[in-house]
Symmetry: C2
Subunit: 120 residues, 2 copies
Amino acid sequence: MGRNEYLCDCNVIHPKVVEQVLKKMPSSTTFEHLAKFYKLLGDPTRVRILFALDQEEMCVCDLANVLHMTKSSVSHQLALLRENRIVKMRKSGKEVYYTLDDDHVVKTFEVGLLHISHKD
Amino acid sequence: MGRNEYLCDCNVIHPKVVEQVLKKMPSSTTFEHLAKFYKLLGDPTRVRILFALDQEEMCVCDLANVLHMTKSSVSHQLALLRENRIVKMRKSGKEVYYTLDDDHVVKTFEVGLLHISHKD
DNA sequence: ATTATAATTGAATGTCTATTCAACTGTCAA
DNA sequence: TTGACAGTTGAATAGACATTCAATTATAAT
């Protein structure tokens, strides 16, 4: 979409607040990248894949067995994670082995797990 | 969906790896909660809202102006964040003021911003 | 060569979801 | 009480997306 000055249907109530916050806001593309990163973690299957890969390097069949899912389904998700440089692959014979390619995933996990544990 | 033992269409290749990883895997519901948390952060509008609220407490109109969006659209997203205890609200006269209700959001932001800055 | 297995891929499908639109509630001011 | 404004809400729509299915590639073994 991109910004559209005419989309907003109401007036500013606290001009100073709006001005100050606008000054600090990063660019739209920054937020899009950020949201894309979180969205990649925002699926049960992908989170489980990443958690598993954080334990050990694994091939697709083993991953599928751990997750109780089809190879195809797992492979689709791995492709998505690969395209976004969150996992990387290594071929060996018939198998393809995956590992985490992003240090931040583990750190994000820690915070995320902390978050959900603090829920009644 | 829930787990289905018969969904997997391939054999285990490294039994020890699968066994070890399965041992460490948290429950399905844990992963669902985790994914839900990340999914909430996985939208450009919501990330911008949360970033703005991390700067200052804001009412809906001001937020809409900062984001260049309609009140309705912002309100819908705020409701979602409210239901999931990520923001909280305070009424004052005609206005409703929102603030962050989750310490982990800020920490998650730090990691996320670090992640996207490490991209070529 | 042929068969079997590991993995990927594209299309199709059904579900989820962000925004829009219109109607509505609640509060303040005249 | 009437009008204006802040905000919410439900339904509708259009786009995104996770899984399935079928076909395909690539490697290894017989």
